[in-house]
């Protein structure tokens, strides 16, 4: 199996504070990894550093994505290369409608791959199919990006974008937060539909309940800016029972 993402001893600062302090993690094609951890452990920082958000200073280590040095790539290059970040708090962009964003994103990727623009009719058929899976109403396509969406709708929209873009690696930052159980199942179904031998998923979550629906191959606990413990899905169950303090004590 090829390695999609190889994070080695990664350290990063934000606002003068050392948030990541030597994170190492490798994700192979076909794998689903979950990163859990208490608030402030650096989970979201890791996702932003991977996606290339400005304001994060890399102070050490390296990240390779499909054999390329991820850290020197612009955010848009990372996306076109097949990295997708599902935001914890997706922003609203009134005035730019959803279907436009989806199409522009797909075409940006195709252009980078040297492919022609997507056929408008086929594209719409594809999007409609994915929307059905995500139980989204078609009227949403003509609405502004995330404009006036509920928390659950925003998260579903993130997953829809992911399904349309078909990334090699999806990093999903607390996609489960703020979802009721029905919405959680819809989101999980979307993520599971993308699972394949070629793709990887990195789930960032605070709670174990998401992992009942998207069963991970590996579970890691991020604490104080480091991977404090790794295991299989049993680790998540144990964390649910014993809390994060247990890991912190052992670490």
């Amino acid at each position: 199996m090829t390695t999609l993402l190889d994070i080695s001893n990664l350290s990063a600062k934000v606002g003068g504070k050392n948030v990541l302090q030597g994170v190492s993690l490798a994700i192979k094609a076909g794998e689903v990894h979950a990163i859990m951890g208490p608030n402030g452990s650096g989970k979201s920082t890791l996702s932003y550093v991977l996606a290339g958000r400005p304001g994060y200073e890399i102070t050490g280590g390296s990240v390779e994505f499909m054999g390329r040095n991820l850290l020197t790539m612009e955010p848009e290059e990372r996306a076109r290369a097949g990295l997708f970040l599902g935001f914890q708090y997706p922003v609203e962009i009134p005035g730019v409608n959803n279907v436009y964003l989806l199409k522009a994103a797909v075409n940006a990727k195709r252009k980078a791959e040297g492919k022609p623009e997507v056929d408008a009719y086929e594209f719409l058929q594809l999007v409609r199919g994915k929307m059905k899976l995500m139980q989204m109403d078609e009227s949403f396509l003509s609405r502004g990006v995330n404009e006036g969406f509920s928390g659950g709708e925003k998260k579903r929209n993130e997953i829809l974008q992911m399904l349309v873009l078909e990334p090699a690696l999806a990093v999903l930052d607390e996609t489960d937060s703020g979802l009721d159980i029905d919405a959680l199942k819809v989101v999980a179904r979307g993520v599971n539909s993308l699972r394949s031998a070629e793709r990887g998923v990195l789930l960032i979550t605070h709670y174990q309940r998401l992992l009942d629906h998207i069963v991970p191959d590996h579970v890691h606990v991020l604490a104080r800016g480091k991977i404090a413990r790794s295991g299989d899905k049993q680790l998540a169950v144990e964390l649910e029972k014993r809390g994060y303090d247990w890991v912190l004590e052992v670490a």
Binding site: A51, G52, R53, P54, E74, P75, E76, R78, A79, R80, L85, F87, P90, V91, I93, P94, G95, V96, N97, V99, Y100, L101, K103, A104, A105, A108, K109, A112, S142, G144, Q161, L165
Partner: protein, 399 residues
């Protein structure tokens, strides 16, 4: 002698008045009939009146057979014309100086008077062709909307050719009880033109005046807007969008006076200044003692995308009663970093993402233009103004 405004006058600090000082003040003499004028397509259900350099161009106009509009000639004079001259314009005050010049120099007035209970749709196009050295054009429109009438006005200002035309327009409107006016104004004159105008509206009981302005063209433009909400529950919705590129200056002074009880204002301004463009929007909200229960909202935002771009946005409140609800917000800033990162993270290139966000910003105002065909046309013009027609292709002209 009318004393003209200068940048030392409180409400004129940001206007570029130089072109006004340089232009020949006499009305442009004869119509440049030979000028090659291409007009936009007719809007469905709208009659059309076209004025070239301030004078009616009958061969370009298409009035309705039962039109509620007619052109009055000041040279013919008479009582009817004298009765039109607005009392407010005749008063002192530098804010009215340009309107007084218009009244003194202009020769034709388009008089629009939908009778009680009627509806009308009228498009008025002012085409500037003459150079400033040949004179100034003085467009003038006066509207008396009858009780329960509904008037829709599309007002355009455009250039034929690339002359440094000087335009000084005046527009005054009176709305009787329950009258509604939807007024859309698109100013898309040539790069060298200067466009000054004064707009006065007097809104009667439960009347509604909606003004949507989109200002794209001209080297120097300045609108002076004075709306009096005179009757109980009178309402004004003012939406203004503006893009200043290159060395353009777009300045607006908008004063809304709440005189009647329970009067309502909704004011929204979105301006983008690129390059060395300059924007001014001074929104004065006055609430008189008798205007109990008045309700006003102001949202004024500008976006600066050029190193030399400037904006001066000033919300002002002057309140003389306790029972009032007034909300106002004003920001001047750069593109939202979070929105930008979100688009980049979807693979969209930086330049397109920036254009999209500028588009989204100005669309907040433009989406309020009710006339779908006009809105579609404006969106194409804005895409051109943002230099990104192809990137915005999928967003244009969507009703």
């Amino acid at each position: 002698m009318i004393s003209m405004p200068t940048n030392r006058d409180e409400n004129w600090r940001y206007a570029n008045l130089r072109p006004l000082a340089k232009a020949r003040p006499e009305a442009v003499d004869a119509q440049a009939a030979a000028a090659n004028i291409t007009l936009p397509p007719l809007l469905p259900d709208y009659e059309r009146w076209v004025f070239v350099d301030g004078r009616l161009a009958p061969h370009l106009s298409a009035p309705a057979f039962d039109s509620c509009a007619k052109v009055l000639d000041s040279r013919a004079g008479g009582e009817e014309f004298a009765a039109l001259l607005d009392a407010a314009i005749a008063t002192e005050g530098v804010d009215f100086a340009l309107a007084r010049v218009n009244g003194a120099r202009g020769e034709e007035v388009l008089y629009v008077a939908p009778p009680d209970g009627t509806q009308a749709r009228i498009e008025i196009i002012f085409v500037a062709t003459a150079a400033a050295s040949a004179g100034t054009s003085y467009p003038r429109v006066q509207v008396h909307a009858g009780r329960d009438s509904h008037l829709r006005i599309v007002e355009r200002h455009m250039s034929a050719g690339s002359a440094d035309s000087s335009v000084n327009g005046a527009f005054d409107l009176a709305l009787r009880a329950n009258a509604v006016i939807d007024h859309c104004r698109l100013q898309n004159c040539g790069d060298l033109a200067s466009c000054f105008d004064t707009l006065l509206a007097h809104v009667g009981e439960r009347g509604t005046y909606r003004l949507r302005t989109v200002t794209l063209g001209g080297l120097s433009t300045r609108s002076t807007i004075l709306v009096k909400l005179a009757g109980r529950a009178a309402r004004c919705e003012l939406t203004a969008a503006s893009i200043a590129n290159g060395i353009q200056t777009h300045d607006v002074y908008a004063e809304i006076e709440h005189a009647g009880a329970e009067t309502v204002t909704r004011e929204l301004y979105r301006g983008i200044a690129t390059d060395r463009g300059k924007l001014g929007f001074n929104g004065m909200m006055k609430v008189n003692e008798a205007a109990q229960g008045a309700d006003s909202e102001q949202s004024l935002k500008t976006l600066l995308t050029g190193a030399g771009a400037e904006a001066a946005v000033r919300p002002q409140l002057e309140i003389h009663t306790d029972r009032v609800r007034a909300i106002h917000g004003a920001t001047t800033g750069k593109l939202d970093d979070q929105m930008l990162f979100y688009l980049l993270s979807r693979g969209i290139d930086r330049r397109t993402a920036q254009t999209l966000l500028q588009w989204a910003f100005i669309e907040d105002a433009v989406s309020r233009v009710e006339v779908a065909a006009l809105r579609a046309e404006i969106e194409v013009l804005i895409a051109a103004q943002l230099n990104e027609v192809s990137a915005l292709d999928g967003l244009l002209g969507k009703p």
